[in-house]
């Protein structure tokens, strides 16, 4: 157990930072840490040396559920063929304020 602890690089955490209030949190990269406290501190030291974050989220990497590249077709299909979600689809008289 002791040897294992000596040679571990600690668990993987994904880091999300918010640049300023009002902005979304964005994926910044990852850190290794043995627990959530150190994950937060490491994330601050690695990803915000120049005031790049007002808020940081860290998530154990294995808790992230993600779509896969194979999904790209069928999973996202409903959004591909409903062009009428885009206002430009509709033809109306031009030059009218606030609606053209």
């Amino acid at each position: 157990m002791s040897d294992e602890n000596k040679n571990t690089q600690w668990d993987l955490w994904e880091v999300f930072t918010q640049k300023k209030t009002g902005a979304p949190h964005e994926h910044a990269g990852s850190v290794r840490a043995p627990d959530s406290e150190m994950a937060l501190m490491n994330a601050r030291d690695v990803y915000s040396r120049r005031n790049e974050a007002v808020s940081i989220w860290v998530v154990p990497a294995n808790y992230i559920v993600a779509s896969t590249p194979e999904d790209q077709g069928p999973f996202f299909d409903p959004s591909n063929d409903k062009v009428y979600r885009n206002p430009n689809f509709f033809k109306t008289p031009s030059g009218i304020k606030q609606i053209s």
Binding site: G29, V31, P34, D35, P69, E70
Partner: protein
Amino acid sequence: MESTLTEEQKEIDFQNKIDSGIVIEPKDWMPERYRKQLTRMMSQHAHSEVVGMLPEGNWITRAPSLDRKAILLAKIQDEAGHGLYIYSAAETLGTDRQEMLDQLHSGKAKYSSIFNYPTQNWADIGSIGWLVDGAAIINQTALAKCSYGPYSRAMIRICKEENFHNKQGYQILAYLMKGTKEQQEMAQDSINRWWWPSLMMFGPSDADSPNSDELLRWKVKLHSNDFLRQRFIDRTVPQAEAIGLTLPDDKLKWNPETRHYDWGEINWDEFYAVIKGNGPCNRERLKARVDAHENGAWVREAAQAYAQKHFN
């Protein structure tokens, strides 16, 4: 979902993706060789950042002023951060960080040859920031457009921070060149020793670079070694002239036809000797890394034990 495509078809599709500028992400299919080459490149790049902390760390206790000490500390901390960005990105390809570190510590993995040279005086800190980080900027700016998402994003982050390193180094030398005769001689001596090794950072000439074609085709490399090296020379010569430094190459001359500087020849024997492990500081650098890893084991153990006790 099982893919019914043949390996050959998958490779063709992959190349088409690269050619059309699509960025490859960690879960995408990729040829094993692409994965392997990138893992090698990225882990060696990360090792370089961390080993690169050593020659500069040598002068923290002897920086000429408190300001310069604080600035040097900040620069070195940045290098640690850069190493960490790249290790994080390299791990997305499936190799555990411990394995990469084992390869470094056993001498199996390489790191940039430049860090096997000693820092003999304070002016060397200037040369490193100006020449070594300057060369790194040229290389990393190109890599920011590479085909692998995590690597390119790490490069973008690094490029933003590298400019301070470059400027800091140049300012050290500019300041010395305005000083006493002794200070000017120290600056000149420093660049006499760092100029040629900095040019070697760009790697062998293209004819002698076996991996290049494949890496260029996969947009893991965006330009040839010679192209980037020439870009570095063209940019740096006027900077040297502006502060009164003479670069140690008497063949250096502006060519109005090619609109580039003509220059002399690299001593490739020295380059190969250094990457084979026989540079001035190879053994010292490796020992420092191994010692740091082993002497830090108690920290890793303690943190892990604490976490198991309190967070499970």
